[in-house]
């Protein structure tokens, strides 16, 4: 493994029983600072792959090394620790806590990581353009704004890897563009980004596109 590699999967497989093989012998390498999009039709295994890369799920076979750590060997709590220290997650449905303000949602990630720093959390929200929405609860924010809070939360602990599952899937075009511009900015700042998407427009962005079909890589090429 090269020291510039962020993610290396070797013969990665995932099956739910003997018959359902979701991922089949995937060998993927993602380098540090790279923006890789993963596309594929429904059921191709892209979300399962993202869950495994997020250390939320374990493969049935094979290994994954993220930032130099063989994550398949980690215990449940070690995986949680690894996740909060190395990975920022952005979900399609934002998954913000409805009764906490934007600022508190970001601070909660700090709380689970280590110490709460309100100023840092404010800065993260300012970075995603929500400096004026700190005290709003999710219900009082638009979808785009909620997703930006979700991105601020993903960034707050300075992860080396950002994984996003359909980050613009629930957004209109204008808000989707704001989110993508944010990802561009993060990429420019050196973050490693992996986005799972159906959106061909996003597929065109970033450095590389991996296409999955029936749990296998069917195409892998540099983005245009």
């Amino acid at each position: 493994m090269d020291k510039n590699d962020m993610i290396v999967t070797t013969n990665l497989s995932k099956s739910y029983d003997d018959k359902t093989h979701v991922l089949k012998d995937l060998n993927i390498v993602i380098r540090k600072g790279e923006w890789v999009n993963i596309m594929g039709p429904s059921g191709s295994g892209k979300t399962t792959l993202l869950n495994i890369l997020s250390c939320l799920d374990r493969p049935t076979n094979g290994s994954i090394i993220i930032n130099g750590t063989e994550v398949t060997k980690l215990s449940q709590n070690e995986m949680a620790k690894f996740r909060r220290e190395n990975i920022g997650l952005v979900f399609q449905q934002y998954h913000l806590i409805p009764y906490l303000t934007a600022l508190e949602n970001v601070m909660l990630a700090q709380h689970f990581h280590s110490m709460v720093d309100e100023e840092e959390a404010k800065k993260a929200l300012e970075l995603v353009g929500l400096g004026h929405r700190l005290e709003h609860i999710p219900a009082h924010l638009s979808g785009g704004e909620q997703q930006r809070v979700s991105i601020a939360r993903a960034l707050i602990n300075q992860p080396s890897l950002i994984l996003a599952d359909e980050p613009t899937g629930n957004l209109d075009r204008t808000n989707g563009k704001i989110i993508l511009d944010l990802f561009k900015k993060l990429h420019k700042n050196g973050h490693t980004i992996v986005i799972v998407t159906h959106d061909p427009e996003i597929g065109m962005m970033g450095d590389r596109l991996i296409k999955l079909m029936d749990g296998r890589t069917v195409d892998e090429r540099e983005s245009a």
Binding site: R84, F91, Q93, H95
Partner: protein
């Protein structure tokens, strides 16, 4: 941050939390009632049960060295000694003799009426009681004596007291035995058994003695339904002088509080404190008291346990629903790196808040209800026991934490992969 999350989470689901708090309030108020009353119960019940009358009689020991089988007032005062007094609700020394009123034989009782009022509250006195502190010679006579001799309150009563009223040791021994029987019978009479009366053998053969008349003013007519109805009552000091037994009594009736020490132990203490006496326990009464107290306490504990189980189940149900409602939230927390213990911390903190709030409200309600019970049952308020507050809070918080164990276990098992994809 954790406190903020818990506070807002509670605020966000206040109706559901309110149900859990109310369930805890029920349990906590029962604990508070139980503790407040039971801490007072023994004392209050013991006093309440003292309405049954004396449960112990102190008599001179048969082997007493003195010639006269009597107890001195100094010995009586030993009962005020702090070693014993804490276990005693009240006591009344008695001295007995015989005499005549209008040629009818009567048993004359010398007593301390303030003390008798306390330990024999069932005595009904028409008119007034003898005033121990007054120097006037007054008399109270039993209802039957009054009826037979046609006395009314305010009349002068000439009591013929045997001049040589003391007896030699052997004679006194016999009469003391009779007096014990009479005392036992008096206590039993409180329970309605009027069959045993003051035996007349004490009176037999006294007609031949010399009598000295003494005039008393009749102040009260005593009716107890027992042997007292056939007796006449004069003040202890006066009786001692008239009977030529200054500073001496025949026996002491004692009302022992059984909440602190078993009555047998108190009896031995008394015998040690006043050598040469025998403290005889009237076991029927003391056993009945013990049984009543034990049964009441058992019933209260049973009701409290059942209420606590009910509260616990209600809290468990609320917490389970809360966990189910917050599956996505928990999944997200896990996804962003929360360890199981952090998740458990949130739920346990929330449960503790429910326990504390319910415990505090329950304590206050319980204390107030204890007052109502105290007033209606014991006719007195229940004292404030500061220790009940932390005990109630600790029990309720523990109850809520234990009830939350299964729901929190469910929260910990939540798989973020499943919940975050909306299943």
């Amino acid at each position: 941050m954790l406190k903020r999350v818990v506070f807002k989470s509670i605020k966000n689901r206040k109706n559901r939390i309110l149900v859990a708090v109310l369930a805890v309030v029920m349990g906590a108020s029962m604990i508070s009632i139980l503790l407040n009353i039971s801490l007072d119960l023994n004392g209050k019940m013991a006093k309440e049960l003292r309405a049954f009358g004396a449960n112990l009689v102190i008599l001179p020991d048969e082997n007493r060295e003195t010639n006269w089988q009597l107890i001195s007032m100094d010995e009586v005062n030993e009962l005020n000694n702090s070693n014993i007094s804490a276990n005693i609700y009240g006591f009344a020394p008695y001295i007995y003799s015989v005499g005549k009123i209008k040629e009818q034989n009567v048993v004359i009782v010398g007593g301390n009426y303030e003390n008798i009022k306390k330990i024999s509250p069932w005595w009904k006195v028409e008119g007034s009681w003898n005033d121990d502190s007054s120097s006037e010679s007054t008399i109270m006579i039993g209802a039957k004596v009054a009826a037979q001799l046609g006395y009314r309150i305010g009349d002068d009563v000439v009591l013929n007291i045997r001049k040589e009223s003391y007896k030699k040791q052997t004679e006194v021994k016999d009469s003391n035995q009779t007096q014990v029987d009479a005392t036992t019978s008096a206590s039993q009479n409180a329970n309605g058994d009027a069959s045993k009366r003051w035996p007349l053998n004490i009176l037999s053969g006294i007609d031949n003695g010399e009598y000295e008349p003494k005039k008393f003013r009749l102040v009260g007519i005593v009716s107890t339904g027992g042997s007292e109805d056939n007796q006449v009552f004069i003040k202890l000091n006066e009786a001692q002088k008239l009977f030529n037994r200054e500073s001496q009594v025949n026996l002491i009736q004692v009302s022992v509080l059984t909440n602190k020490n078993p009555i047998d132990k108190v009896a031995s203490q008394i015998e040690k404190q006043i050598p040469g006496t025998r403290a005889r326990v009237l076991s029927q009464i003391s056993k009945a008291e013990g049984n009543i107290q034990g049964k009441i306490l058992f019933l209260m504990i049973l009701v409290t346990i059942l209420t606590l189980v009910g509260s616990g189940l209600s809290v468990m149900s609320t917490m389970t629903t809360t966990v189910l409602e917050r599956r996505k939230e928990v999944g997200m927390m896990k996804a962003i790196g929360a360890e199981n213990k952090k998740i458990a911390e949130i739920f346990y903190l929330e449960a503790s808040a429910i326990g504390l709030a319910g415990g505090a409200i329950g304590y206050i309600l319980g204390f107030l209800m204890a007052q109502v019970i105290g007033k209606s049952v014991f006719n007195t308020f229940i004292s404030f026991h500061v220790t009940v507050i932390p005990i109630t809070l600790i029990i309720t918080v523990l109850l809520v934490l234990i009830s939350s164990k299964i729901p929190v276990g469910q929260a910990i098992k939540i798989d973020p992969v499943v919940t975050l994809r909306g299943e």
